[in-house]
């Protein structure tokens, strides 16, 4: 299960909306043991594309350092699908870098953004519950 503070959820969705018409992406810092996210790190999409994303490696390094210094780890990545559902594409699965991560999809296809989270382990996708907490 992935637990998101409401602020992290809202930051993530706002970053995705701001990124339109391109896909937007970012990283989540938190506790790997429990799946508790504590920080949203919006990153630049180096691919600058409506169909692809590449987390800017410099932003990733900055996020990783900030996170580790605070005693947390990067526990996942989020990105938007601008015209499709919130489900990992074959590209997302093929390029999933860490089986311990949470892969969050924000679909902007409909008026109301849809946030869903997945684990991707050796090419197998499983959806997990997303719990929102107030702080």
């Amino acid at each position: 299960m992935l637990t998101l503070p409401r602020t992290v959820h809202d930051q993530m969705v706002a970053h995705c909306l701001m990124g339109l018409p391109d896909e937007a992406c970012g990283l989540l810092g938190g506790l790997p043991e429990t799946g508790d996210a504590v920080t949203c790190y919006p990153t630049r999409n180096l691919a600058a594309s409506a169909k692809l994303y590449t987390v800017d490696p410099k932003d990733h390094l900055r996020a990783d350092r900030d996170c580790e210094a605070a005693g947390y780890s990067i526990i996942g990545v989020f990105h938007s699908h601008t015209h499709t559902e919130a489900y990992p594409s074959p590209t997302d699965v093929a390029q999933a870098p860490d089986p311990g991560w949470h892969y969050v999809l924000v679909s902007l296809r409909d008026t109301q953004p849809v946030v869903r989270s997945y684990r991707i382990i050796e090419g197998t996708i499983s959806e997990e519950p997303v719990r929102l907490r107030s702080s």
């Binding site: 896909e23 994303y53 390029q95």
Partner: protein, 101 residues
């Protein structure tokens, strides 16, 4: 000289759970080869079998991506730190297929 190398979570299991390891070397490539010699589980994870930097990782010398320096030949000195992070990418490539439904 001894260089500190920060490992990403996905590679720590191959290095006995260590977040940071150290290795000798005068270039990024030499230091990485030493780390792989010590932790053979890392073989092929950072540098591919042709000796090139794996395309699914980013390697930084301090704040800079070594691809924008001299790659694996980038010289290192004692106070330097190497960081390895996975390249994070993806996207809804099947867009046209889904739209056609």
């Amino acid at each position: 000289m001894s260089i500190l190398i920060n490992l990403p979570t996905v590679l720590r299991t191959h290095a006995g759970g260590a977040k940071t390891v150290s290795a000798d070397g005068s270039t990024v490539g030499e230091a990485l080869l030493k780390v792989v010699a010590e932790y053979p589980g890392l073989s092929g994870q950072v540098v591919d079998h042709d000796g090139a930097l794996h395309k699914f990782v980013n390697v930084y010398l301090n704040d800079d991506d070594v691809r924008y320096l001299s790659g694996l030949d980038t010289p290192v000195s004692d106070s330097d730190q190497i960081s390895i992070l996975p390249a994070v990418a993806g996207g809804a490539l099947a867009l046209r297929v889904l739209r056609a439904r």
